[in-house]
């Protein structure tokens, strides 16, 4: 692998830092999944012992908090560059879809976000701007508050899918007995050919489905705003 880093005299090594530790953890998660992020593995990747990490993060929980915040910062860096002029709805829509694009690069991030108890400063910042856009668009603060709860994880651009309703009943692997037990699903899937290769089993919505659900919510919120 070709690297642009300045040559180091042998035996010299970049010193560890919280930032390097967190970025390395993100890289491991991107490549091998979040379960591959262990203290020993992060240390290895940095050419250090696992125990050395404890000089830069308090413990693994702190490391994961930092990782989440780093991803949220990446989202903020993108969405803060977007144009915010014009009606609230397309502005908010574009912002959420842009956040989604970032999360698609870190597919493990939504699941991790859901497990964090500490507030990520950058997640809070993201929502602050969203509140500002909604309030500026004519929402009462009370309706903004409801909107945040209603959007939930969708505000950051993803929705945690339980399962793809298509996956269980699509062509091959469904046993005949189960197929007979779920006639409505079978009927639905025989009509809705669900062969879109982008449709996955996990949390990752089809872009189309995500936008459908998002527009359902944004349309409804605008109707609540104007009083039906």
């Amino acid at each position: 692998m070709v690297t642009a880093e300045p040559a180091l005299t042998p035996g010299q090594r970049l010193p560890l830092s919280r930032e390097r530790v967190l970025r390395t953890a993100v890289a491991i998660a991107d490549e091998h999944g979040i379960e591959a992020v262990t203290m020993r593995r992060v240390g290895d990747e940095l050419g250090a012992e696992a125990m050395s990490l404890y000089h830069h993060v308090a413990n693994k929980n702190d490391l994961l908090d930092g990782v989440v915040d780093l991803v949220a910062q990446e989202i903020n860096d993108v969405v803060d560059g977007l144009d915010t002029s014009g009606p609230w709805q397309p502005v908010v829509r574009a912002r959420i879809l842009a956040a989604r694009q970032v999360l698609l690069r870190h597919r493990w991030a939504p699941g991790l976000l859901a497990t964090r108890s500490a507030l990520s400063p950058h997640v809070v910042l993201y929502h602050d701007r969203l509140v500002g856009l909604l309030h500026g668009g004519g929402f009462s603060y009370d309706l903004v508050h409801h909107a945040l709860h209603a959007l939930g994880s969708r505000a950051l651009g993803f929705s945690q899918e339980l399962f793809d309703p298509g996956a269980g009943a699509s062509a091959g692997p469904l046993p005949a007995e189960l197929a007979a037990a779920v006639p409505s699903l079978v009927a639905m899937l025989s009509e809705v050919a669900h062969d879109d290769p982008g449709a996955t089993l996990g949390w990752c919505d089809d872009q189309t489905e995500f936008e459908f659900g998002l527009d359902l919510l944004l349309d409804g919120l605008d109707r609540r705003r104007t009083g039906s």
Copy 2:
């Protein structure tokens, strides 16, 4: 603890079974959280060695799959008793709120559900009935399909909250510097007194907020159904 079980001659013990293993795991999760469910702990609780469990579940992943399915079965037992006559919207609404009540007894379940890759038969069954109700209520299968994606985890009665937007900026613990950085959140929260004791930090929505979001979606779906 008083128990109604029949007396056993000393040395005798209830034999293990997959069902007993799964129910014990659910009981431990209810009382001590899902992270307390370890093979050794489940074994202990049954008066057996951890290794004995492997005669009844393939491995821990299989155990957790079974636990999820058991909770989904509990949901189906409840919702299958509901009245399904009348317009689709109140029927579906009541069904989802009933499912939610079950999940409130197993607050660890939504998080676990999100991590399962295997399809739980009872989760599939639940959605099959929901598909039937929507189609019977006048939805095309195509719209039903969009609806399932749009409802996502809400169909089973919960929404994974990222964080309570109120928690970060409520009265006490917010540092002054962060407060200054999130003026819109502060403004919102000074207006929306968020002192409802039921409002929690985790995935668990306020009942009111859950219903608001649910009705937003159901209203929107009905509008799509009738063609605006």
